[in-house]
């Protein structure tokens, strides 16, 4: 799974919308789309322990990304189903586009761990994985082992990559961008929030997920390498060992599901995201054409 990458990719998507859709796509829709897969599937991955009894999935990786399991939540198909439901409810194509873009970003980023996602569910139930780093959520290790493994592997590089993407499009974090491109897409929501917060607070709310991503990246990396004292291969260590090799870290057994060949996955995932992006841009253009025709 990916950690802070999911926080950063929201801003990366927001900052790279098709020109005509800028100022029209809801930031909240992108956020909700990106957030939905883990909101639905992740709570049972780590589970909870009460009075020494663990409540949670017996096979976290299969629950999270497999079928049968909640793996369907990490598929483009399910994102489109939810978006379709939103469409039936609100009839708002622009909101739908933001939601699917956020959802697609999450699903495609997650092909990087050793489990991957079922990209073409329900037409094919194989998981698509590039295997960049080891999926590390286990019953025994829980969130901490997962964090230690992720922030010792190329997962850390993935987070930094998305951070750099956002920083290269730094205007997305500015007050002017927020005023001219984020607020106009959701004026009612921001106006309602403005009853409780002044402009400084609203801007902080907009930047809040980025702030959380940066702090999460720094805090968990620091914890994993300076504070944690894990026992690995029978040896107590000062911090989890770094391993930036493909499929690492070496000190955890990467789990897999029935998968497509990795060499097929990367170009297919990029092509799929490009197709989704292009298709949504067409939907957006048509929606704007209709709106302009209606308003004259």
């Amino acid at each position: 799974m990916s950690w802070a990458a999911h926080q950063f990719e929201i801003y990366a998507v927001q900052g790279h919308l098709p020109k005509r859709l800028r100022g029209r796509i809801s930031f909240f829709a992108i956020f909700l789309g990106d957030f939905t897969p883990d909101f639905l599937a992740k709570f049972w991955v780590y589970g909870i322990t009460i009075n020494g009894h663990h409540y949670g999935s017996s096979e976290p990786y299969r629950w999270h990304r497999g079928w049968p399991g909640m793996g369907f939540t990490h598929t483009l198909f399910f994102g489109l189903v939810v978006a379709g439901a939103i469409w039936l409810w609100k009839r708002n194509a622009i909101w739908l586009i933001g939601y699917v873009l956020g959802y697609a970003a999450h699903v495609i980023t997650d092909v990087n761990d050793s489990i991957g996602t079922m990209l073409v569910f329900p037409f094919h139930l194989s998981n698509w994985s590039v295997g960049t780093w080891a999926y590390a959520a286990t019953i025994k290790g829980g969130k901490y082992l997962d964090a230690g493994a992720y922030y010792s592997s190329l997962g850390f590089v993935m987070d930094v990559f998305w951070l750099v993407v956002v920083l290269l499009s730094w205007r997305v974090l500015t007050r002017e961008f927020w005023r001219t491109q984020v607020v106009p897409a959701d004026p009612r929501v921001w106006a309602w929030l403005g009853r409780f917060l002044d402009e400084r607070g609203l801007l902080a709310l907009y930047r809040g997920t980025f702030f959380y991503g940066v702090c999460r990246l720094v805090a968990w990396t620091t914890w994993a390498h300076l504070i944690a004292r894990p026992v690995i291969a029978g040896v107590r260590r000062h911090g989890y060992p770094w391993d930036l090799s493909w499929g690492g870290p070496w000190w955890i057994t990467a789990v897999h599901l029935d998968q497509m060949p990795p060499l097929v996955v990367l170009p297919a995932a990029v092509a799929l995201f490009a197709l989704v992006f292009w298709g949504l841009a067409q939907v957006g253009n048509r929606a704007l054409d209709r709106e302009e025709a209606r308003t004259g």
Partner: protein, 103 residues
Amino acid sequence: MGDFPRVPSVHPGGRTAGRPVYLPSVKASRGAHRSVPVDLYLYSAAAVSYVVLGLYNRWLLDWIIGPLWLVAWLQVVPALGRRLLRRPAVPPAGSARPTGPPA
């Protein structure tokens, strides 16, 4: 509105793409002209405090608490600062504070 001018508003249903639009019905931050360095300090303080506390209280590293932490720093701390700065530590001369009967 004194120190809290409202920024120009726009009709929520208006067609707004491609031109500057101002937040509807929202209070501008007090002292906006000097807010950039102040905000920089506030963001930095929020980040440092969140990371340091989060290292030892990892339940704080949560997707709800994180963004709200930032909002709290940017919203509550300036308000507290204003309140503290306005309250004089020593009563000003000529105040109505009782001092006892004249000798």
